[in-house]
């Protein structure tokens, strides 16, 4: 591991610009459930393109994600897992995410460390202008959810590199059990097929 790179923590890219120059555009007209309306200014900010590669930023910068950032991202994952009704499948949610997801994604190349830190700034910045942190989570996770945002945009990057990946991880690690009858799912270590009963539904099972 490159010690120098590991210590060189990613910088805050655009927080100052955003907070200083655009505070006024956080006025939510209304939202309930997945029906979220945001102001034109916020929509513009979420969708505007930023100067980043099409892949994760600084993939060679590795290291464990500091606790304060872990907490912010875990809160987001907790929010979406409740919305998807899979949260009850995880008795040790935070530890699972940390040890089996964040740690692998940040300590080895291509590292998501910088990208995740930027995600925490996005959550924090939005949360300063919403009534609750979950309102910020709601926007980041579900606003205009059927639309595919550009990988160059703030929201597109957040969703591609964090929201989507954490969704696939959580479903594969047991979230699938929320959905009727399933005994196995892509990414789940179900066990050997030679066991009785096998780890999937069989003709006579």
């Amino acid at each position: 591991m490159n010690e120098e790179k590991t210590r060189a923590f990613p910088s805050i890219v655009d927080r100052r610009t955003f907070v200083g120059g655009a505070t006024a555009f956080f006025t939510f007209s209304a939202y309930a459930g997945t029906s979220i309306n945001v102001t034109n200014e916020l929509s513009f900010w979420l969708q505007s393109e930023i100067d980043e590669p099409n892949w994760v930023a600084n993939p060679d910068v590795t290291g464990e994600l500091p606790q304060q950032f872990l907490k912010i991202l875990t809160e987001f994952a907790d929010f979406v897992s409740r919305r998807w009704e899979i949260r009850d499948q995880f008795p040790d949610f935070a530890n699972l995410l940390n040890s089996d997801f964040f740690s692998y994604k940040t300590t080895e190349r291509d590292s998501y460390l910088t990208e995740y830190v930027k995600c925490t700034y996005m959550i924090d910045t939005l949360a300063k202008h919403t009534n609750t942190r979950d309102e910020a989570h709601e926007i980041l996770a579900f606003w205009d959810v059927e639309k595919e945002f550009s990988i160059k945009s703030r929201l597109g990057r957040f969703r591609k590199f964090f929201r989507d990946e954490v969704a696939y991880f959580l479903l594969s690690q047991g979230g699938f059990r929320r959905f009727a009858e399933l005994k196995n799912y892509k990414g789940y270590h179900g066990g050997s097929f030679t066991e009785i009963p096998p780890p999937y539904r069989v003709i006579d099972g």
């Binding site: 929201r163 959905f179 009858e181 799912y185 270590h189 050997s192 069989v202």
Partner: protein, 509 residues
């Protein structure tokens, strides 16, 4: 006897098998394995996590480039094979059906192609060893083709619940000879559902068998072989290869050479090895190298079944049910047919739905309202005369000649394809599928390409003899799907491994 200094060209399943057996039986020999592609890290947790969360596979860049071959409008190369240490087994499905006795007598039975220079019974002991090598799971009590009570090395994988509706349909239609698909999944398989990149080595790939720790074995990746150099008509001197790290061409002497690349690359190497002894390419005095191109298309029928009270959904990443009812001698003249129930077809991707904003309750409703079913299979296809591969102008990324494919499907195969697709549709209808039918009559693919260096009793009819040695050349063998005289209806890999074991054991005995 010792084989001396041995070159193996290609690190796929055939090359790995030959190397492994020679290392065990012939301690005095020195083996150098050449591979055009690079080493790919397999069984790595982070790479597996990336596959689960993003769908990206670490060997994607080892596929062909779309510009590597011409003539691909009706013959697909891209995605069919991999240039990497371990070859195409890095991405294979692992289906391991044996050929059937009649497959070795196509010429005698149909006047097409060529008979094999040995029989199913001759190959049977090597099939047993091949199943052990690939760690095949299956039902040893089934006797189609004959197993003589030989169990599989790994117990059978029980049929999935979703298979049940297809089994009922087969029974109703009087279709017999169905059962557990023989597939390369060892007992270490943890049904992780990510077979394209297995984190625990539950699915065999040839990189597992490449013994880099033997002192007498050397793997040279990123070293494509460009030519076999001849000393005389009967004896090869050695090889010319490219060290891609330096870009320099190197020449090296060997006592024996095994050409174990994929079908196309093996034939291309012989065609590229022109000399004053072999004007048209090594082994090509009678013009059979690169000819008789045959390959499988994937025939597929899918549809939707209304109602899904049991919430049937594929929970594994591979099929479990096969049917050989149409893979019988009476169908050989038009092309026998083999199919599986592929429960992955019509898979309902819950995660994708959630990410698209579908609420869990709505997902429950959609899952209960119906489910997708699909059958997929291969038939023994007959190409029109003149179907072949050729060296094309220009070089691929390895500095080897590009490929030109000349392929036309015969009329009898076109007709039989439609018949088999109709059979699959009928089975699905009897099973209860009644809407959204999709019928895919695909093109032949590079991964099951055969006959480009076919085995024969004499040089007048083919390229290699029953030991896969090039006719009239004493120290070059081709061990590849390319030597199969005909295609059959089933996947070729198990038979290739059986042939490789037979060749290696006979030579090192």
């Amino acid at each position: 006897m010792t084989l001396g200094k041995v070159a193996i060209v290609g690190s796929g399943v055939a090359g790995a098998t030959i190397a492994d057996i020679l290392l065990g039986n012939d301690a005095a020999s020195k083996i150098v394995m050449f591979e055009a592609g690079n080493e790919v890290v397999m069984r790595d947790h982070r790479k597996w996590l990336d596959y689960i969360t993003t769908g990206s596979l670490p060997y994607y860049w080892n596929e062909d480039d779309v510009t590597d071959a011409s003539g691909t409008e009706n013959f697909w190369v891209k995605g069919g094979r991999l240039m990497a240490v371990g070859g195409s087994t890095l991405h294979w499905g692992g289906w391991c059906p044996r050929f059937k006795p009649e497959d070795f007598f196509l010429k005698s039975n149909t006047e097409r192609g060529l008979d094999w220079p040995f029989t199913y019974e001759d190959l049977t002991p090597y099939y047993v060893k091949a199943e052990q090598r690939l760690r095949v799971t299956g039902d040893g009590s089934r006797d189609d083709p004959p197993r003589h009570n030989e169990p599989y090395p790994v117990p059978k994988m029980p049929l999935a619940k979703k298979d049940g509706l297809i089994v009922n349909a087969l029974e109703n239609l009087g279709i017999s000879s169905y059962g557990n698909l023989p597939i390369a999944r060892s007992t270490s398989c943890q049904t992780v559902g990510s077979c394209a990149y297995c984190p625990v080595g539950g699915r065999y790939d040839a990189s597992m068998d490449i013994q880099s720790n033997f002192e007498t074995f050397e793997l040279r990746s990123k070293s494509p072989v460009a030519e076999i150099i001849m000393d005389s008509k009967k004896k090869a001197y050695g090889l010319r290869y490219v060290d891609m790290n330096t870009g320099e061409h190197q020449q090296e002497e060997f006592d024996r050479i095994f050409v174990c690349g994929g079908s196309m690359e093996s034939a291309k190497l012989l065609l590229s090895s022109r000399s004053r002894f072999w004007h048209s390419g090594l082994g090509n005095d009678t013009g059979h190298v690169g000819q008789h191109l045959s390959a499988h298309s994937l025939l597929r029928v899918t549809g939707q079944m209304p109602g899904n009270a049991s919430f049937l959904q594929q929970e594994l990443d591979f099929p479990t049910l096969e049917c050989r009812h149409f893979d019988v001698p009476e169908n050989q003249y038009k092309g026998k047919f083999y199919f599986v129930h592929d429960g992955r077809i019509g898979h309902y991707n819950i995660t994708k739905k959630l990410l698209a904003g579908t609420m869990p309750a709505q997902i429950d409703e959609e899952r209960a309202s119906g489910t997708g079913f699909g059958l997929a299979g291969f038939m023994e296809e007959f190409a029109a005369p003149g179907s072949r591969i050729e060296l094309a102008s220009g070089k691929n990324r390895f500095g080897l000649p590009k490929t030109n494919i000349v392929y036309t499907t015969s009329d009898i195969t076109k007709s039989a394809k439609l018949e088999w697709l109709e059979k699959m549709e009928k089975i699905l209808r009897v099973a209860g599928v009644d809407r959204d039918f999709r019928i895919k009559n695909g093109n032949p693919r590079a991964d099951h390409t055969v006959s480009l260096c076919r085995m024969s009793d004499s040089a007048s009819e083919g390229v290699v003899d029953q030991n896969c040695k090039i006719h009239d050349c004493d120290n070059v063998h081709v061990v590849s799907n390319a030597v199969f005289p005909n295609l059959t209806a089933v996947n070729p890999t198990l038979t290739l491994v059986a042939v490789a074991i037979k060749v290696a054991e006979n030579l090192s005995r």
